[in-house]
């Protein structure tokens, strides 16, 4: 908001920046979306946490999910995070997966005038580098 940021390249995810997220990125590289589940309660959670959001314990596992969901909310980004200047305008959305978590993602293959809250969407992948597939969504 304050001043024009210096032009930098689009930020790449820093794997394992705050906890061990390698299982997520390994699966993503193979085109699979995995999220954490609490083994004590069976509850899913996103983004990755080092403890269960239900119990506070570390009894967690990664499971593949369907990649099906719907738009919970959306916005058109005109004032982007630094490194995304060349992409504006672009769609960001909170997508609610049918498994019961919400992901903050880009929406692709969709025009602003066609986005609706509740619209069914499905997983697609954005290849950010040889190593990194990033989850995104498109109309189902």
């Amino acid at each position: 908001m304050s001043e024009a940021p210096k032009k930098i390249p689009r930020p790449q995810p820093r794997v394992n920046a705050y906890m061990d997220t390698k299982p997520f990125w390994d699966a993503a590289k193979n085109g699979k979306l995995v999220i954490q589940y609490c083994k004590d309660t069976g509850k899913p959670q996103w983004f990755p946490h080092p403890v269960s959001m239900a119990t506070g314990r570390r009894n967690l596992e990664w499971r593949e999910v369907s990649g099906k969901g719907q738009v919970y909310s959306w916005t058109v980004t005109n004032s982007p995070w630094p490194g995304h200047e060349d992409r504006v305008p672009f769609l960001c959305a909170l997508v609610e997966l049918e498994e019961g978590v919400r992901m903050l993602v880009n929406l692709f293959n969709c025009k602003q005038e066609d986005v609706k809250i509740g619209m069914p969407v499905k997983l697609c992948w954005e290849k950010l580098s040889e190593e990194i597939n990033y989850p995104a969504f498109e109309p189902a």
Binding site: R10, F47, M53, T75, W81
Partner: protein, 391 residues
């Protein structure tokens, strides 16, 4: 907090809000201290407590509060730092009250100071942001409030003219506030608001704060000590509620709900009040819709009734419920992470009867709210509510 009025706020100070003013957070804080000492006539050696807010300009220094003591020549017996963003100011008053009651100190300088628009290197918030926010490109608060506004519109309907009214009401107040940032001290119309460009649709530029520099603070002591010190004026904190990471573990929490639904009733109960008893309100305003949600969640109106409440209530300094009478952060400028103190200090100023041409009549009490932090895919991380009352 309780309604026994054993704690008093006996002074306040505030710098002018400037855009890239060039002065450091230390110098800005010094101006606030100087103002408070001049206003109260109290010897600076009576200050034995410091509660200071984290900043965007100095927080990379892990000894920020300690250096501030050294720079200002203070030797407190109790030093405390608050990383609650815009909730740090009111949060510091509640913490100072607890420390004073526990005998750890007698007189606390509560200060927030930030030269965010002058500084160039912001502290990195880190955590999940490198992996799950920055690659998506959603821009911090602006993006999150775009998502929040869209969802609110979907669930309840939102009248743009209500936000336009808020924008104009606050701007008129800023025009009467010499401490407001000069760049913002120009009149705007509701039409200007409606035509303002989208920064994160449906969020507009004129929904948003402009990051500036500035500092503000208050002096807190026990009422007993205030009398001994010969304090000329005093008001009292009588109700306080705070919550961080409201419903944070709930994966499908409704993002149009906030911690004010807990913090508001708690503060009101302690103060033995209902929203109808509140004379004026200084709500935290990083974005206009935050004000609307605050009014709903604290119970000034029902869920989804915020637009109509705003349209049907005179929120000007002369009105039924005066709101952000110094312009709020949106029209006075947001002095970085000292932003929460801007509306707090205005509440104190009004209750001291020193608000000049924008003075509220019968300023018997005031509610101040704070918001801090932007979590993943939600609204905000910290909500707090403080109620102040005259003696």
């Amino acid at each position: 907090m309780a309604k026994r009025k054993d704690i008093a706020v006996i002074g306040y100070g505030e710098t002018k809000v400037t855009l890239r003013g060039g002065r450091t957070s230390y110098e800005l804080a010094a101006e606030v201290l100087d103002q408070i000492l001049a206003q109260t006539g109290i010897d600076k050696n009576r200050i034995d407590g410091l509660a200071i807010a984290e900043t965007m300009s100095e927080t990379s220094n892990p000894f920020w509060p300690v250096y501030m003591c050294e720079v200002l020549g203070l030797s407190p017996a109790w030093t405390q730092v608050n990383g609650l963003g815009g909730a740090s100011g009111s949060g510091a008053i509640a913490r100072a009250a607890a420390a004073i009651r526990d005998g750890m100190c007698e007189t606390v300088f509560v200060v927030a100071s930030d030269a965010q628009s002058t500084g160039s290197h912001y502290p990195e918030q880190g955590a999940w942001r490198h992996e799950f926010l920055y690659p998506v490109g959603l821009r911090g608060p602006v993006g999150s409030f775009g998502l929040l506004t869209q969802r609110y519109r979907h669930q309840f309907g939102l009248k743009d003219e209500a936000l336009a009214k808020l924008a104009v009401t606050q701007r008129k107040h800023a025009l009467m506030n010499p401490n407001a940032c000069d760049k913002l001290r120009v009149p705007i119309t509701e039409e200007d608001y409606l035509k303002s460009k989208y920064v994160s649709y449906p969020l507009r530029m004129l929904d948003s704060v402009m990051v500036c520099d500035g500092a503000n603070g208050v002096l807190v002591t026990s009422t007993e000590n205030a009398k001994k010190l010969g304090a000329k004026k005093m008001i009292h904190p009588i109700g306080y509620g705070e919550i961080t990471n409201y419903k944070g573990a709930d994966q499908l929490a409704d993002i149009t709900e906030s911690g004010f639904m807990v913090a508001g009733p708690k503060a009101l109960k302690q103060a033995e009040m209902t929203p109808k008893d509140i004379r004026m309100i200084m709500p935290y305003d990083d974005f206009l819709i935050a004000i609307l949600l605050t009014l709903e969640h604290i119970g000034f109106c029902g869920r989804g009734e915020g637009s109509d409440f705003i349209l049907n209530t005179d929120l000007s300094y002369k009105g039924k419920l005066p709101l952000n009478t110094s312009g709020g952060q949106i029209s006075a400028g947001q002095p970085g992470l000292a932003g929460g103190g801007l509306n707090l200090v205005e509440g104190v100023r009004q209750m001291f009867g020193e608000a000049g041409e924008r003075q509220v009549s019968d300023p018997r009490n005031c509610m101040v709210t704070g918001i801090g932090g932007i979590p993943y895919g939600r609204n905000w991380a910290v909500s707090n509510v403080l109620i102040l009352e005259q003696s």
